[in-house]
Amino acid sequence: MYRYDEFDEQFVRERVTQFRGQVERRLTGALNEDEFRPLRLMNGLYLQLHAYMLRVAIPYGTLSSKQMRQLAHIADVYDRGYGHFTTRQNIQYNWPKLKDVPDILNALADVEMHAIQTSGNCIRNVTADPYSGVAADEIADPRPTCELLRQWSSNHPEFSFLPRKFKIAVTGARADRAVIKFHDIGLRLAQDEGGRLGYEVWAGGGLGRTPMIGIKVRDFVPAIDLLRYVEAIMRVYNAEGRRDNKYKARIKILVHEKGGEEFRQAMEAEFALIPHDETAPVEKELRRIEAFFSPPAYEAVADESDLLTKSMRADPDFARWVRVNTRQHKAPGYAIAIVSLKPKGGAPGDATGDEMRALADAADQFSLSELRVSAEQNIVLPNVRKSELFALWQELRQAGLAIANAELITDVVACPGLDYCTLATARSIPIAQEITERFAEPALQEQIGSIRIKISGCINACGHHHVGDIGILGLEKTGAEAYQITLGGDPTESAAIGERSGPGFPADGVVDAIERLIHFYLGQRQDDESFKQTYLRLGHAVMKDALYAAH
């Protein structure tokens, strides 16, 4: 894992000191709210429906056990005993007091974390594949790239006042688990014919009120030119992105209004203007960062584990968890384990301080002290020996964290919605809770198979509803909450934006409608077809009718 150098440490500590002064001045009235708001937002502090909310970055979704313990400590000491993991690999605390926030930021700095640029019109936390460095289908670990981008974009004077926020995601794998096609810039590590490492570059993707799939702007940019190239994109956006209308200010609007070809030309022209001699220090820094991410010393063990096979045979619940919640690791004899934060009736992505500590302990004992946060709001233990999966599962079960539902129907993604968020038009979490209860039966979940349900409580789409197989958008309709359903969305390399199905459902009708659709799918699917395959074969109209059958 990356460790702060003196410069990083000083930068983060100085920011804490500055913010402490700003809070003091706010409390004495020397700063009014209009003056203070941009300062607090640059440090991740929002004012929500019931209280302040602090959004803390988890760079590229990677956490050490020590950092996870500190997140638990903050939850217990400064908040109400829990935190919420988000789709962009952040953690949000929902009840901090203004006077405590500088102390929280200091506690974060103690473990090399911060909340800088988790809000505001700047480059946000750079996200990555949660299986970075361990995925079997990976060309290279994307995290050194993310760390380079984090350092480059932190307090970048030219890009701190963009037309709107800017999100970058990076993957090193063939399968896209980082949602790169729906980011302002999406990067996929690639190799050219000579075997040189570089990036395939996507730009102009996004969700929100105008969902758009990014366009590929370059097949290959050599690694050494990455910052020049990203800078060229940022410059075109900074100069030409719309500042007159907040709702048209994201780069996706510029790219699609200008047209892909014209945008590409503007970008290439800008790229040509940036001197090559700026690349040498970048390469040196990238090498320095890469050293922190060299793979751990995996033990040379057989890929198959007798203990695992025996334990699976002996305990069907464990066998189910292994089937559903583990993924292939690049090293023989190891597995990637997903710890679901979607218990029956729970709030998706929430973890209590005790649960965070249990996760930290599990990471120390079984995963080389490392954890990841996924875009599905779950925690990943990236380095578990197959022979130790049973022991891990027992520990997780003790902590109530052995929920076997990764990527199944109850692994619902949901934004905080109107239960917390001041922008929301409807609640998200209670709908998610009802889904986890309605489809609680483990055998039924496995029978339904892999399916993504994603819920947003307003058109800003923090719950990524546009890219759910089933997307649920909470709106207000004649003074009550209403839920509009989209079908056929896909956040992966086969990216698709869900199609709207028709009139919304009332809160007490939406899960019934989903259940009708699921039963229709189970009756119609051929062989092992996934929900998406059945949807594509039968078409939107047929699936939509199933949703509305009882109307």
Binding site: E33, H50, Y52, R80, G479
Partner: protein, 116 residues
């Protein structure tokens, strides 16, 4: 015909903890039932001005008026579902009045009035 005037109370967030508060007869309170009720546009404007003075004095943030109706006991309850959730002061799915793991806020237990 002019639209019938809806009763109003005024709300804001407390500067220190961000909690939802309401302007009552004796200052700001966490209990919306204790809020001053404006029954005319002029009274609502007065209420808002009083609240904005506290915002200018950096005690509260985000002042706005909330339409209410009186329940059978004569207490003001918001008309809109968003505001109904906000006066509850906790997420809708937490057991009322407090979530077991979140003992910080207890309506009626702690001092009802917020000192500024």
């Amino acid at each position: 015909m002019a639209k019938k005037f809806a009763l109003q109370i005024v709300t804001a967030n407390h500067l220190l903890d961000g909690n939802s508060i309401f302007l009552g007869e004796d200052g700001w309170t966490a209990d919306h039932h204790a809020a001053r009720i404006a029954s005319s546009p002029e009274a609502a404007a007065t209420l808002e001005v009083l609240a904005l003075a506290d915002e200018a004095a950096n005690h509260v943030v985000g002042v706005y008026l909330v339409a209410v109706e009186l329940d059978e006991d004569g207490n003001p309850e918001p008309v809109h579902y968003r505001e109904k959730m906000r006066v509850r002061a906790i997420p809708s799915f937490w057991p009322d009045p407090v979530k077991a793991r979140a003992p910080a806020r207890r309506r009626g237990g702690e001092a009802q009035h917020v000192s500024l």
